[in-house]
Amino acid sequence: MTPIISVKKLTKKYNEEVVLRDVNFEVMKGEILVVLGDSGAGKTTLMSILAGLDKAFEGVVSYSDDLFENSKVPLPIVFQDFDQLLPWYSVEKNILLPYDRKEFTDRDREILSFVGLDTHLHKQPHELSGGMKQRTAIARSLLSDGKVIFMDEPFGSLDTARRQQLQQLIIEINKKYVKTIVFITHDLEEAQLLAHRTLVVGTDGTVKEV
């Protein structure tokens, strides 16, 4: 397995408070890396830095060369809440918004089908269930054709049945499309189900692999 993102001596402070302390690890290509930790521990901060959203840190975050064949920073993120979709646009428009193309390509349609959205393209978010909304966000990330996708507790607001369906979807996406997925959760069971490797972010700001 080759590293696709390397983190060396990463330290992040908010004002004087240390949120991440001297963090070192690598994200391996093709894996699902789960980042565990209690609320407020700094998981989201870590993700923002890795995805390229937050550039104010000490230390080095390096990316493999081929990562930016199709992507640019920031790397796609799927968030937990439903405000990540624009309520006045349809599923189709929401998914296409970050991209330059005006219509779905064949490859796009394949992805949409895989994710289970093909009959929902013209609906608006308020007409969708929570699970469908998250699928929309996932599809949006997938269309970037990048190699890494970040997910920040994406299934936290869903009921058990849907959560399980979507967890399965993640596993399949990881296999079929060979996407590296960095997945944040505070749910141990979810971590166990999905992870190839797990990192734990402690409240003291350290990150350890378990």
């Binding site: 995805a51 959203l53 640019k72 920073v73 920031p74 796609p76 993120i77 968030f79 405000d83 990540q84 979709l85 624009l86 309520p87 006045w88 646009y89 918004l97 970050p98 608006q124 308020h126 949006r140």
Partner: protein, 253 residues
């Protein structure tokens, strides 16, 4: 349609009955309390001979003009305010001074600048509509920023895309709400301005209509004018704006 609740109808019925009783009692001169027949008759006559409809149409068009101007100017002000914090503060300051000023109060000043006539009244109308609109739109833009800035940053949306797809399209419900408030403000300002200052032009609106009825002591005509104002106001605010608002709320949230 305006909800036809029974208690509302009964209330109106009692009010009319009470009015007619008052008239019959002779307690007040017919110049103050005309009979329902004379009010009804005058109202019908004035509708048929075109006086009321003309005044109504003129009033609505005038305020609609004011609304378009207000939306445009609010857009510009909000844009200016979004540039830097200093400018935003300036816009807020201007709004806080201008908002409490009733349109009528500045009419004498306005007449000095614009002379008598349509321009002066339009300015007053715009003034009464602009500030609530700016406040509403600014609040809406702020709300949108708080909610959707994260998506914009996370997906690196271009400035153009962010402005058009998030702010422009997203503010539409805010504009409708703002327009609703602005409309009622503008309506009142327009009628009051014409009544208080009795400005006559080639055409004129409901305010002037009321003024004329007053100087010619035409009480039935006065009440007809009031009825027209109420009907218009209810129709536009309830039927048009509420419906529009509901439709937009459905699709935008």
């Amino acid at each position: 349609m305006v909800t036809l609740k029974w208690n509302r109808l009964i209330f109106i019925g009692l009010l009319l009955a009470g009015w007619q009783l008052l008239f019959i009692s002779g307690r007040y001169s017919p110049a103050l309390v005309p009979s329902l027949q004379s009010i009804g008759g005058t109202f019908t006559d004035e509708c048929l001979n075109g006086q009321l409809p003309k005044a109504v149409v003129y009033s609505i068009v005038a305020i609609f003009k004011g609304l378009l101007w207000s939306v445009a100017v609010s857009g510009i002000l909000v844009l200016i305010g979004s540039a830097t914090e200093w400018l935003d503060d300036l816009v807020e300051f201007v709004v806080s001074i201008a908002h409490p000023l009733p349109g009528i109060a500045i009419l004498p000043l306005v007449i000095l600048w614009f002379g008598i006539g349509e321009k002066a009244v339009l300015f007053v109308v715009i003034h009464s509509m602009l500030w609530p609109m700016v406040v509403t739109i600014k609040a809406e833009v702020k709300r949108l920023k708080n909610r959707y800035q994260r998506v914009s940053k996370a997906f690196n949306l271009s400035r153009f895309k962010t402005v058009v797809h998030i702010y422009l399209v997203g503010t539409v419900p805010g504009i409708i709400t703002g327009a609703k408030i602005a409309w009622s403000r503008g309506w009142r300002a327009f009628i009051s301005a014409e009544m208080v200052f009795g400005i006559v032009g080639q055409k004129s609106g409901l305010g002037w209509y009321l003024f004329e009825q007053r100087v010619y002591m035409n009480a039935a005509g006065l009440f007809s004018g009031l009825i027209a104002i109420i009907l218009c106001g209810v129709f536009i605010e309830q039927v048009i704006f509420n419906r529009l608002d509901a439709w937009v709320q459905l699709r935008w949230r």
